[in-house]
Symmetry: C2
Subunit: 683 residues, 2 copies
């Protein structure tokens, strides 16, 4: 394989070889996952070049083929019971399709909310794909406000069945992934009603298609909701229910029960239900870094291969004979390109470590919860909602940034970035819209302040990610530091900076909220609305403080393992910290972390760090170990042969099958030769 | 037509009827254009619902049909000679297709660069669509760096012809719109060579397809470059040239001439060529507000119809019978939604007025240039590059913001926003990548400082958009104002604020650049690289200062015309100014326009303004007068009947033709029933 000489040179000059970096990035647990995932990583299903030329129907068909192939791998290697492997599968399976929901929502909901008997009945079927399920909550009229759902499940005491209805157009179920054409079952969220009493929204198991012939069952109308901006391997579905019936025992009964006589009761601690909601969020957080990395790898490699303009003064007066055409510069050498790219690289790695941290926290919470201790819930809730809202936003904007800094070619589907962006975009919306989730994060942080004011020390403060909130003393007057107290590359300074910014914002918001409560008869909902913008800032502030802490914690370990790698990681951590200070400079100044004149020192420190990380950039991106099939990008290839690849991809475009297309025969010729025919318009 | 009751109520409560606002928004000139455009606006070609379900090939075919229909309208109404009508056509023609390039690049380039004889020969053909042309500059290897293009045109003295070649893979022409399958001609940018001497890149007229049968001509290989993220009605093309021949007189000869003997000469002022480059940029600037408006109208209407959550405290303990389900709130009432939406509405209107201003400036420049006076060039260059770089970025991010604040439904193609976003995205790249253009803007502003330092007063200072730069005195020491000097709603305060922020940034960058020159042997190219990030900020800062000025200028006129409308426009202008101060608070503090503690007053003033503009929001969006066909959005309909429209759009998805799809027969059944057949994978 002939590799582009710029990339070769980049790889040679790196201080550390990429395969030394890989395990430091991923950590032992993920390394083992990748090891086990090898059969998938090497499988043709990972390669999605086909998506470049497909239409919606073809793409769905292809997704079905991928699903079948994936299930064969899962059966062969026994992955169905290994959640960490399945998480990896989601990232590397090539395209999104209905099985995602089966893994991420259907099976976990059964595990969390079904009673013991129900679990024993459904889980083996689901894990062997004898049934394929999705999660059916959102309706045309209600998404974020789950309590407002209108689908009804009425208990028919005569037949011991639930009668299901979507009584209004707005209550049509809308969006469940795989519900349109693929899934046989779903968890249905519907209002549980007995004898006219409405007990609110509850989870039911609903079979929607015949297992023999896949036909839609009576009383159910299913439809595909149509094309979306991306994510079109997935058949998101719509569903109307007109008196469909399911057995009483279809209610998921771990926390609720309804007997034959229609007696309704609640059992156990309902708060645990919120615990399971954090499951998907932590998975989204953990995956975020991989999605951003994918884009960063493409843009970095392209920037090392792409040359544009020269740095020597070569402009000759127009109209003269050109005698000198100097070598052009790798665009990766431009400070503006570095400013757009390296902070994303740094964020990727920060998010990676933060993802590991949140995952450990979640596991710990699960272990404790299994023993009846859910004291960590509030903290887990605060960190997962903050990080989910904040990280998905940075990733979305980061992928798009990577796309645009590839110039025109970044707009080609074959560049990989457009499809990746389009597929990733809804992650800021589903599993908690970014604003709605920020409100939850903000509310959680408000509670922490309240507890602090009441002198309460939360559970396991030592290890809590909100510890800095509890340790903050709002009565101490803050003053922006003098110039000589600025120590940007010092981890302690950095962490203190991010925590102070977050604390002061939290405190100010708390005061505003308190004032609003006074003005609004203590109506919390109305009062909270007045600080929602502030809440979205808090979510980011808390998130960055947590990510930075995770970065530092990991750095200390790396320092023991490899000095050269440590230097690289430390630079990246500094870039992360200083870039985000610079980006949110207004907040850092307003919270007295920095003074108005410190703008310049941030920028100059950042530029120095870029110089330092520049020679390592390709090695770092190589360290992610992404295959060309996975990257699926003519610009991000390991061999850097971008121009051949661009042309090769274009040659597959079906419109290239003919020189003179139907468009000419049907229309263009009558533009050029209006006399040929008085065409009647086809529109 | 039954209109959604929320929208009805909104329309009733507005202080001014939307049709009073319309002419104030657009101004008399545009109003006349719309009047004339009526046959197009009412034409079915504007409606692009078809795009929701199409694949690339169908979309191209449809684009050809649209093109034919459009040409029939243009011929019928004699629009070919009316550039202002054609600019309107581009926005309302439904989809993008090859004629865009014909109008925006091909004809204007002939007008600007062809000699008199050539113009007489080509313009009538082009304006009657007997030839259809595009602009063929970018190559696989070179986009921004035009001087680096590699395509060659060698003069063959024997035959008096140019021999055209793309000697390398990288010199393959790539991207020209319509070159793949549609255009018969193009302006070819190629290195002019005579007797081995390279005179650099020059424009040539090249016929690429046979006018009789549309076949590609000898020595030319054309291809479609494949699917893109959006903009797929356009067949962007690739072209390789292998010894194709064109007459010597194909060189566009207004500024250059080559005689039979191969004598090359330059005539006239080459700087005029740069003048014409600003033509397309000002057109992009002028169109930006319309593109943003389109998204804002959709998101605002949806936000007025969509209700989610209630503002009264209604949470009842889980497991109890629900007795109270209060009315939910229009999401437009949430401060967070307002914070994301209203500043975009305000920016739309600011950009509209700025677009008019730039257009007038451009026309003035053209008039003067026709008389040999190009003294306004530098200013026109600075303002068009700043505004193009800055406005397209705000518009891109604004469209995506509008999409995401529509929640899940914003991700449906039928929401209109995804397609609109995808089509608009490349505007940050073509006609000057956002960074490359910022560099030009920055450089221009550096020149202004240099002139000021040299005591030079530029041409027509009084009316110059850089006047504030020339009037700035860097020796005056700046101090952030006391609280009582903050007067946010005062136009003078606002303008001073934006100009000071811009001036201080410009000055600081100038100093940094000077220092870098010292460190880099006065190598301007290397030195400039060290301040490119600063240049991107300057472009935004200058742009906002110019937009705000245009907003104020227009406001003064509106004030005379209609008091109620003035109040609305003034609120919007204040929102524009204060929101962007708040967004870039760090810069305003660093440049001593504001003090660190002024964060809060910005936010509270903004929230008050939102309250004031809230009841007018729908009337303002109605005032843009966009038809449902143009908006092409199930969420943005005038009648607000969103849910019916969403379902109706989905019913057209071809995958809904069958209940059980091919995906089941080919794949899913073997997942559910592995025993049915040992499938061989189709992948
Ligand atoms: C690709 C995709 C896949 C999906 N898959 C599934 C699935 O498998 N199963 C399923 O059940 N659902 C699914 N969904 C639906 C998804 O969960 C919802 O779209 C999501 O919860 C957001 O809800 P919404 O669309 O109703 O937005 P809305 O709640 O209507 O939000 C619209 C706007 O209002 C704002 N807003 C709402 N409430 C408030 C408030 N109280 N204060 C301030 N602002 C507010 C939001 O911030 C947003 O800007 C999917 C959606 C997408 C896009
Ligand atoms: C949809 C679409 C339609 C188009 N239509 C046409 C057409 O009709 N005719 C035609 O000829 N072309 C067309 N183009 C091409 C377009 O003009 C180029 O893509 C554009 O000029 C950018 O150039 P590039 O792609 O080479 O980017 P590059 O110049 O390669 O830029 C890549 C990256 O490098 C950075 N960079 C480059 N130079 C510098 C520098 N000196 N300093 C710092 N950073 C730098 C850029 O900021 C960018 O981030 C089209 C492109 C698109 C996407």
């Amino acid at each position: 394989m002939k590799v582009n000489s710029d990339l070769l040179a980049e790889r040679r000059k790196a201080a550390v070889s990429s395969n030394v970096l890989t395990p430091l990035l991923y950590g032992p647990k993920l390394m083992k996952v990748f090891e086990q995932l090898k059969p998938l990583l090497d499988d043709p299903l990972v390669d999605t070049q086909d998506v470049w030329v497909m239409n919606n129907q073809q793409r769905y068909l292809r997704a079905c083929e991928r699903a079948e192939r994936l299930v064969r791998l899962i059966r062969k290697y026994g992955w169905a019971d290994k959640p960490e492997i399945l998480r990896g599968v989601q990232i590397f399976q090539g395209d999104d399709f209905f099985l995602n929901l089966h893994f991420v929502m259907f099976v976990p909901t059964i595990e969390a909310l079904a009673g013991d008997d129900q679990r024993q009945k459904w889980l083996p079927l689901a894990k062997d794909f004898r049934i394929i399920g999705t999660y059916s909550q959102t309706e045309l009229g209600h998404g974020s406000n789950v309590a407002g759902l209108e689908t009804t499940a009425d208990l028919d005491l005569q037949t011991d069945e639930w009668v299901l209805n979507t009584p209004t157009l707005e209550s049509t179920k809308w969006w469940p992934g795989g519900l349109g054409k693929s899934c046989t079952h779903c968890i249905l969220m519907a209002r549980l009603r007995i004898k006219g009493n409405d007990y609110g929204v509850h989870p039911f198991m609903l079979q929607v298609r015949d297992l023999e012939n896949h036909k839609t069952l009576p009383g159910i109308m299913l439809m595909h909701i149509g094309q979306k901006l991306g994510y079109n391997g997935m058949d998101n579905g719509g569903m109307q229910l007109k008196g469909a019936r399911i057995p009483r025992t279809s209610l998921l009964m771990r926390f609720y029960s309804v007997d034959k006589q229609g007696n309704y009761s609640v059992r156990g601690n309902l708060k645990l239900i919120y615990g399971t909601m954090t499951f998907t969020r932590q998975a989204i957080i953990a995956a975020g870094s991989m999605h951003l990395a994918r884009a960063v790898v493409i843009a970095t490699r392209y920037s090392a291969v792409r040359r544009q303009f020269s740095m020597s003064i070569a402009t000759q007066p127009a109209g003269t004979v050109i005698t000198n055409r100097p070598q052009e510069v790798q665009i990766l050498d431009y400070t503006s390109q570095q400013y757009l790219l390296f902070p994303l690289l740094a964020s990727t790695i920060g998010f990676m470590f933060a993802g590991h941290m949140v995952h450990r926290k979640y596991e710990q919470f699960q272990r404790e919860a299994a023993e009846g201790n859910i004291k960590r819930l509030e903290e887990v809730h605060a960190i997962t909602s903050s990080l989910k809202a904040s990280i998905t936003m940075v990733v979305v904007e980061g992928i798009e940034c990577c796309r645009r800094i590839c110039g025109g070619h970044g707009y080609l589907l074959s560049a990989g970035l457009p499809i990746h962006l389009a597929n990733y975009l809804p992650q800021i919306t589903y599993e908690g819209d970014f604003v709605v989730l920020s409100i939850q994060a903000g509310r959680s942080l408000m509670k922490a302040v309240q507890l602090r004011e009441n002198g309460v020390t939360p559970y396991d403060l030592e290890k809590s990610s909100t510890r800095y909130v509890y340790e903050f003393d709002p009565s101490v007057e803050l003053k922006a530091p003098e110039d000589d107290a600025i120590d940007l590359n010092n981890p302690e300074f950095q962490l203190k900076a991010f925590q102070q910014r977050s604390n002061v914002l939290i405190q100010k918001t708390f005061m505003k909220l308190a004032a609003a409560m006074g003005e609004n008869d203590n109506n919390l909902v109305i009062s909270m609305d007045t600080v929602k913008v502030e809440f979205t800032r808090l979510a980011h502030a808390h998130s960055h403080a947590c990510v930075l802490k995770a970065f530092h914690d990991r750095l200390r370990q790396v320092q023991k393992e490899n000095a050269a790698a440590y230097k690289i990681m430390k630079d990246l951590c500094d870039i992360y910290a200083i870039y985000w200070m610079h980006e949110s400079f207004g907040e850092f100044v307003a919270t007295k972390v920095l003074a108005p004149d410190h703008d310049d020192i941030l920028m100059s420190t950042l530029k120095n760090l870029f110089k330092s990380i520049r020679p390592q950039a390709i090695a770092i991106t190589d360290a992610f170990n992404f295959s060309d099939d996975f990257l699926n990008s003519v610009l991000g290839r390991y061999d850097g042969r971008i121009y051949e690849a661009i042309v090769d991809a274009a040659s597959r475009e079906p419109l290239n099958d003919k020189d003179v297309t139907d468009g000419y025969y049907r229309s263009i010729q009558y533009i050029l030769h209006p006399e040929r025919k008085a065409t009647s318009s086809k529109l």
